[in-house]
Amino acid sequence: MKVEQISIFIENKSGRLAKVTRILGDANINIRVLSLADTSDFGILRLIVDDVEKAKSVLKENGFTVNKTEVVAVEVPDRPGGLSNILQSLDNNQINVEYMYAFVERYGGNAVIIFRFDDTDKAIKTLLGGAFNVLEGQRLYSM
């Protein structure tokens, strides 16, 4: 029920993002989902890719600081109020969202929200209890 995400530390200087994507491209790794959080000095690039271990090792070989975190992917109907229901349910159970990002599936047209929680297991339990559609990692890697 958990999805593996890799995070990469990137200094705010030109060419760094291009370098990461080139390394992944050269290793034949496909980026499924991407999000970039930034400050004035640095950014954190978060990726879900089709081959987590390989992506991590090629980036490390090239001198990047990489770590792996577990996130949760939830599918919601792409219509008004879809996200709100999920957040309300999490809030009712005092689960904090550290960060989140979203995309719309190519087929089917549903939205997928990627969440990073302070308590991942409790969040999954809550979401399943609320009859939300939590996606398996495999489904994202091979989209």
Binding site: Q5, S7, F9, I10, E11, R16, A37, T39, D41, F42, I44, R46, G63, F64, T65, V66, N67, T69, E98, Y99, R116
Partner: protein, 433 residues
């Protein structure tokens, strides 16, 4: 103009005779009162009675900042504690300060030398001295203060900080003499401009600037922006504090070192041998009248040269050139002494921080800035921004708390700090002096 004309203009032969008499007396005193000197003289095979001329001074071993640290806090004091009336301290590499103690007589001499320095800079009784050096363990504030009082001037003990208030007081109180670090004076000028205050309308006539290295170009800038005559002053707490040496307003060419109280030597920092007059080397000072903590051949680490040429002001005391640098790695940032090793030990104390760091010193406007670059490795890295920001804040806070210097911590990618073979390059000093 002189404060103590007789002593400031002593013929050099008379001065030399006085130096020798005082040197011999102080050697006897430290030999009998300070274990460190008994041991170091003993190891060099010298007894105080062997010093029969000023040239013999070269036979004595050096005293270093490390010796002071090893004797922390009072080990080098030459009088019982009950005779010490004041204690000052400056920062050191281990986080432990270097401690100095003054007897009543020491304070009197310091006050006189500082009063001489004020007069040399063109100040006089009747001046309103705006003393923006920090008051506290740092010698700058109280040193200048006592000298100003001894001179009979009116001293405003404003200390550092709160620039808007400084400017208001300079305007309203009619300050005629400003004492602070050179970089702070330019910062004041900028702030004044922003507030629409014209320095040309203030009564300031003289500025006495020290505690950090500065250049002739900076003097021109200060004189232009603050509309005053800018004078370079030198001192260090180990020897006394401010007022060890100062330029005269007549020549503004080299700083007269008060030779009736200090014997200067310039050595090659590598070999320890004296260099010729006019050649650049490390300044070594022997205090010949100090009671609390006399220092024999103290290595200041400051690089300068010396000239015994007569000066047009009439003072006979030798002049040392404006300090051109330091022979060790100590940085002076906004007047605060910072050793890279101090920052290193703070960083290493933070869990997960690797000792790959780089200090970038620069000047933004007229204030020194310090950026501490730290590499983010897997142990430190988090996928959450707030965790990394908390780390930067923590580094900044610990450095501020331990060293009293404000910095910005910058997290950088691993291996992005250049590695060098042998001695790591820890500091990039971009300040143009």
């Amino acid at each position: 103009m002189f404060y103590n004309e007789e002593f400031e203009t002593l013929p050099r032969q008379v001065l030399a005779a006085l130096q020798l008499k005082r040197l011999q007396a102080i050697l006897e005193r430290v030999h009998s009162n300070v274990q460190f000197y008994r041991e170091s003289f003993g190891m060099a095979g010298i007894r105080p009675g062997d010093i029969k001329s000023l040239d013999d001074l070269q036979r004595l071993p050096f005293t270093t900042k490390q010796n002071m640290r090893d004797s922390y806090p009072y080990g080098l004091f030459a009088v019982p504690m009950e005779e010490i009336v004041r204690i000052h301290a400056s920062s050191g590499t281990t986080g432990k300060p270097t401690v100095v103690g003054y007897t009543q007589k020491d304070i009197e001499i310091w006050s006189e030398l500082m009063a001489r320095s004020f007069v040399s800079a063109g100040a006089h009784k009747g001046d309103i001295i705006h003393n923006a050096y920090g008051y506290g363990l740092f010698t700058g504030g109280l040193g200048a203060h006592y000298g100003a009082e001894r001179l009979g001037a009116s001293v405003i003990p404003i200390s550092g900080g709160n620039t808007a208030r400084q400017i208001m007081i300079m305007q309203d109180f009619g300050s005629t003499v400003l004492t602070c670090t050179p970089s702070y004076s330019l910062f004041m000028a900028e702030e004044a401009k922003a507030e629409g205050v014209d320095f040309k309308k203030l009564k300031l006539r003289v500025g006495i600037f020290g505690a950090e290295p500065w250049s002739e170009a900076m003097r021109d800038e200060i004189e232009e922006k603050l509309n005053l005559s800018a004078i370079d002053i030198y001192g260090l707490s180990e020897i006394m504090g401010p007022g060890v040496a100062i330029e005269c307003i007549e020549a503004k060419k080299g700083l007269h070192i008060w030779e009736d109280h200090f014997i200067p030597e310039i050595i090659n920092p590598e070999t320890g041998q004296l260099v010729a007059e006019g050649e650049s080397g490390e300044l070594v000072i022997t205090t010949i009248t100090k009671q609390g903590i006399p220092l024999i051949r103290y290595r200041t680490r400051d690089i300068t040269s010396i000239s015994y040429e007569p000066c047009l002001c009439g003072r006979t005391h030798a002049r040392i050139a404006r300090m051109s640098g330091r022979s060790d790695d100590m940085l002076i940032i906004r007047g605060v002494n910072v050793f890279p090793s101090q920052i290193e030990s703070i960083l290493i104390g933070i869990e997960g921080v690797e000792p790959h760091y780089l200090l970038v010193v620069d000047r933004a406007g007229n204030l020194d800035t310090l950026e501490v670059q730290v590499e983010v490795d897997e142990q430190l890295f988090s996928d959450e921004i707030k965790v990394l920001q908390k780390l930067s804040k923590r580094i900044e806070k610990e450095i501020k708390d331990m060293l009293g210097v404000t910095c910005t911590a910058k997290l950088v990618e691993p291996k992005s700090i250049p590695r060098s073979e042998g001695k790591a390059r820890r500091v990039i000093d971009k300040r143009k002096l």
